[in-house]
């Protein structure tokens, strides 16, 4: 094969390229200041012994990391707690979100009450949702215990029993996050052409068969995106447990983000907190890369 002749850029193209760099510069500078610099600072701090309660700023290599991974039971507990919350609330929100999306996709004459009902939990601030559910599950005044008593049972201590606190948290998180799932899935549902259902109907598919043979496979890309988005945000779960249990009883419901927050803000251990945050960052990156690989493969196929 003959070597292809390499053409130089014309003056017009060179000027355009230069203009491009100039126009990009402000955004690049801003990103450096608010994203690159803090992350670099975090990574640097994680290698130091740096406590505001004690003087000194001493390089200790990976000691913070080895302590966290091999000796700090409270951190490992928080990782496990986070994993349980992800394992329960992500699939839970998917199932409920799918149900809500299917409901919202029905041809209602008046669409806005359904849409509003979907949007409301999503639009509510997380801490606010946490507070609502804290009152919901309150031992004395809570709505849940009021119902249980009405049914003639002894009211349980929702938020001070380690297992029940988890149940309450999961319910609150599923309630809060399934509307997000539903919104993504609803967008996915609306891209499925109506004629596919008509073709399936003529082909002989029942409503259930249409759901299995058309809706689910056509919705798969949206489901994957929703799952990955939700998983990435669930790794950082903080607000709802903070407002409902504050990690209690003890540290039974403490998540990674809460433990990092306590380490850094309450115990003022900047170095160790940075190391923990770095670990959480790595976990998030791992989850994100799964997402990126998925979208890349998708792009290649189409």
């Amino acid at each position: 094969m003959a070597a292809a002749k390499k053409y130089k850029l014309s003056k017009l193209e060179r000027d355009e390229r230069r203009l491009g760099f100039v126009l990009l510069a402000p955004a690049a500078a801003l990103l450096t200041a608010v994203v690159v610099y803090p992350i670099a600072e975090l990574l640097a701090n994680s290698l130091y012994s740096f406590r505001l309660t004690r003087p000194g700023y001493r390089f200790i290599g990976l000691e913070n990391f080895t302590f966290a991974l091999f000796e700090d039971d409270r951190f490992l507990q928080s990782v496990l707690n986070t994993a349980i919350l992800i394992g329960v609330t992500v699939p839970g929100a998917l199932v409920i979100g799918l149900g809500l999306a299917l409901l919202a996709n029905q041809p209602f004459k008046v669409k806005w009450p359904v849409r509003l009902g979907l949007l409301l939990p999503w639009a509510l601030p997380l801490v606010f949702a946490g507070l609502i559910f804290r009152w919901f599950f309150d031992y004395r005044q809570g709505f849940v215990n009021w119902l249980i008593e009405l049914a003639g049972f002894a009211p349980p201590q929702w938020l001070s029993d380690p297992h029940l606190a988890f149940v309450a948290l999961c319910i609150a998180i599923v309630w809060k996050s399934s509307s997000f799932m539903a919104l993504i899935l609803l967008a996915g549902l609306q891209t499925i052409p109506k004629s596919l259902y008509e073709a399936a109907e003529v082909d002989g598919a029942s409503r259930f068969q249409q759901f299995v043979e058309i809706t689910l496979p056509m919705l798969k890309p949206a489901i994957v995106v929703a799952l990955i988005f939700r998983t990435i945000t669930a790794i950082q779960t903080f607000d709802i447990p903070y407002a409902m249990t504050n990690g209690g009883p003890g540290s039974a419901t403490e998540t990674m983000a809460m433990y990092i927050h306590k380490t850094t803000i309450d115990f003022l251990d900047i170095g160790y907190g940075s190391a923990l945050a770095t670990l959480m960052f790595l976990i998030s990156i791992a989850a994100t890369s799964v997402y990126l690989r998925h979208t890349k493969r998708d792009g290649g196929r189409n």
């Binding site: 052409p193 004629s195 596919l196 008509e198 073709a199 399936a200 109907e201 003529v202 082909d203 002989g204 598919a205 029942s206 068969q209 043979e213 058309i214 496979p217 056509m218 798969k220 189409n302």
Partner: protein, 366 residues
Amino acid sequence: MSEIVLKNVVKAYGTTPVIHGVDLHIASGEFCVFVGPSGCGKSTLLRMIAGLEGISDGEISIGGTLVNDLPPRERDIAMVFQDYALYPHKTVFENMAFGLRLRKRPSAEIESRVREAAQILQIDHLLERRPGQLSGGQRQRVAMGRAIVRNPKAFLFDEPLSNLDAQLRSEMRVEINKLHKRLRNTVVYVTHDQVEAMTLADKIVVLSAGRIVQVGTPDEIYNRPAAKFVAGFTGSPPMNFLPCSIDADGAAILLDGGIRLPVPQARRAVCSKLAGRRLDFGIRPEHILAEAVGSDVATVPAHVQLVEPLGSDTLGLLRIGTGEITGRFAPEAPLSAGATIQAGFAMNKFHLFAPDTGDAIRDPGW
């Protein structure tokens, strides 16, 4: 037997009727084309036969079974959609096999029927592909394959060729025609393209504003249009219309601008009954001749406004009296814009329409 019978079929949305009592008999094995402009209700009527739209009143039966309240899957019909509606996540094979699989046919039978249909449609090399990997024409074939594997009582086509480019459209038209000659199933085919209607149909149903205007063979629709609407819808270019009146003894048609067209002996009896009435005179472009030769040809001075050579023929826009008409001429006809020619009207081919109702004034002998 798989005849389709419609009795006084009505479709209304609320109190607004869109199909006003249609009666139609489609014989078993017949290729029936619904044709009409956008919004005339042809697709709605097809979807009512399919069961995708409810019926407000009347009866539809397919193969002797009243299907008013049967869902599409129990009507034993297959449909080809305008956008093909192929299942994008399934392979071509799975797309075609879907209906059989839902009907729990043994897999050996599914395999052989899909392969047979694929062979007929020349898509057997595409069976493992997905619809996204196919061209428009191939998708169209898969959509037809999905319909024919089930061997249903009737095929319903909803503007199946309108998403294809002109060349592919005429190719697929021939394919559909061959397929019907081979399978001899009952077909209901919706189109707004009169060429498809003329070439494919055993029976054409012309619809306008939710009513049937005329039912007939392509020959009847073209040569004996029941209404001005039908005449103006068929042919390319369509029929020319000029306001006219008829002289006292029915011997001549008088066009505006003082033009007198002698009526042939055979048509005078009918014309004499219409003497004095204002009518619309209709004549097809091919019945206008560049030279006045032969009997029953009326000669009219015509001013050539525009000449459109199409290669095989030449269209000429002519001013006659106060009106304009289009003629279709042989390419060698001596036409040039600005010239005045002696145009011939083939007076044994003209049509007359009542201007108020648009109904054709017909005589069995014409």
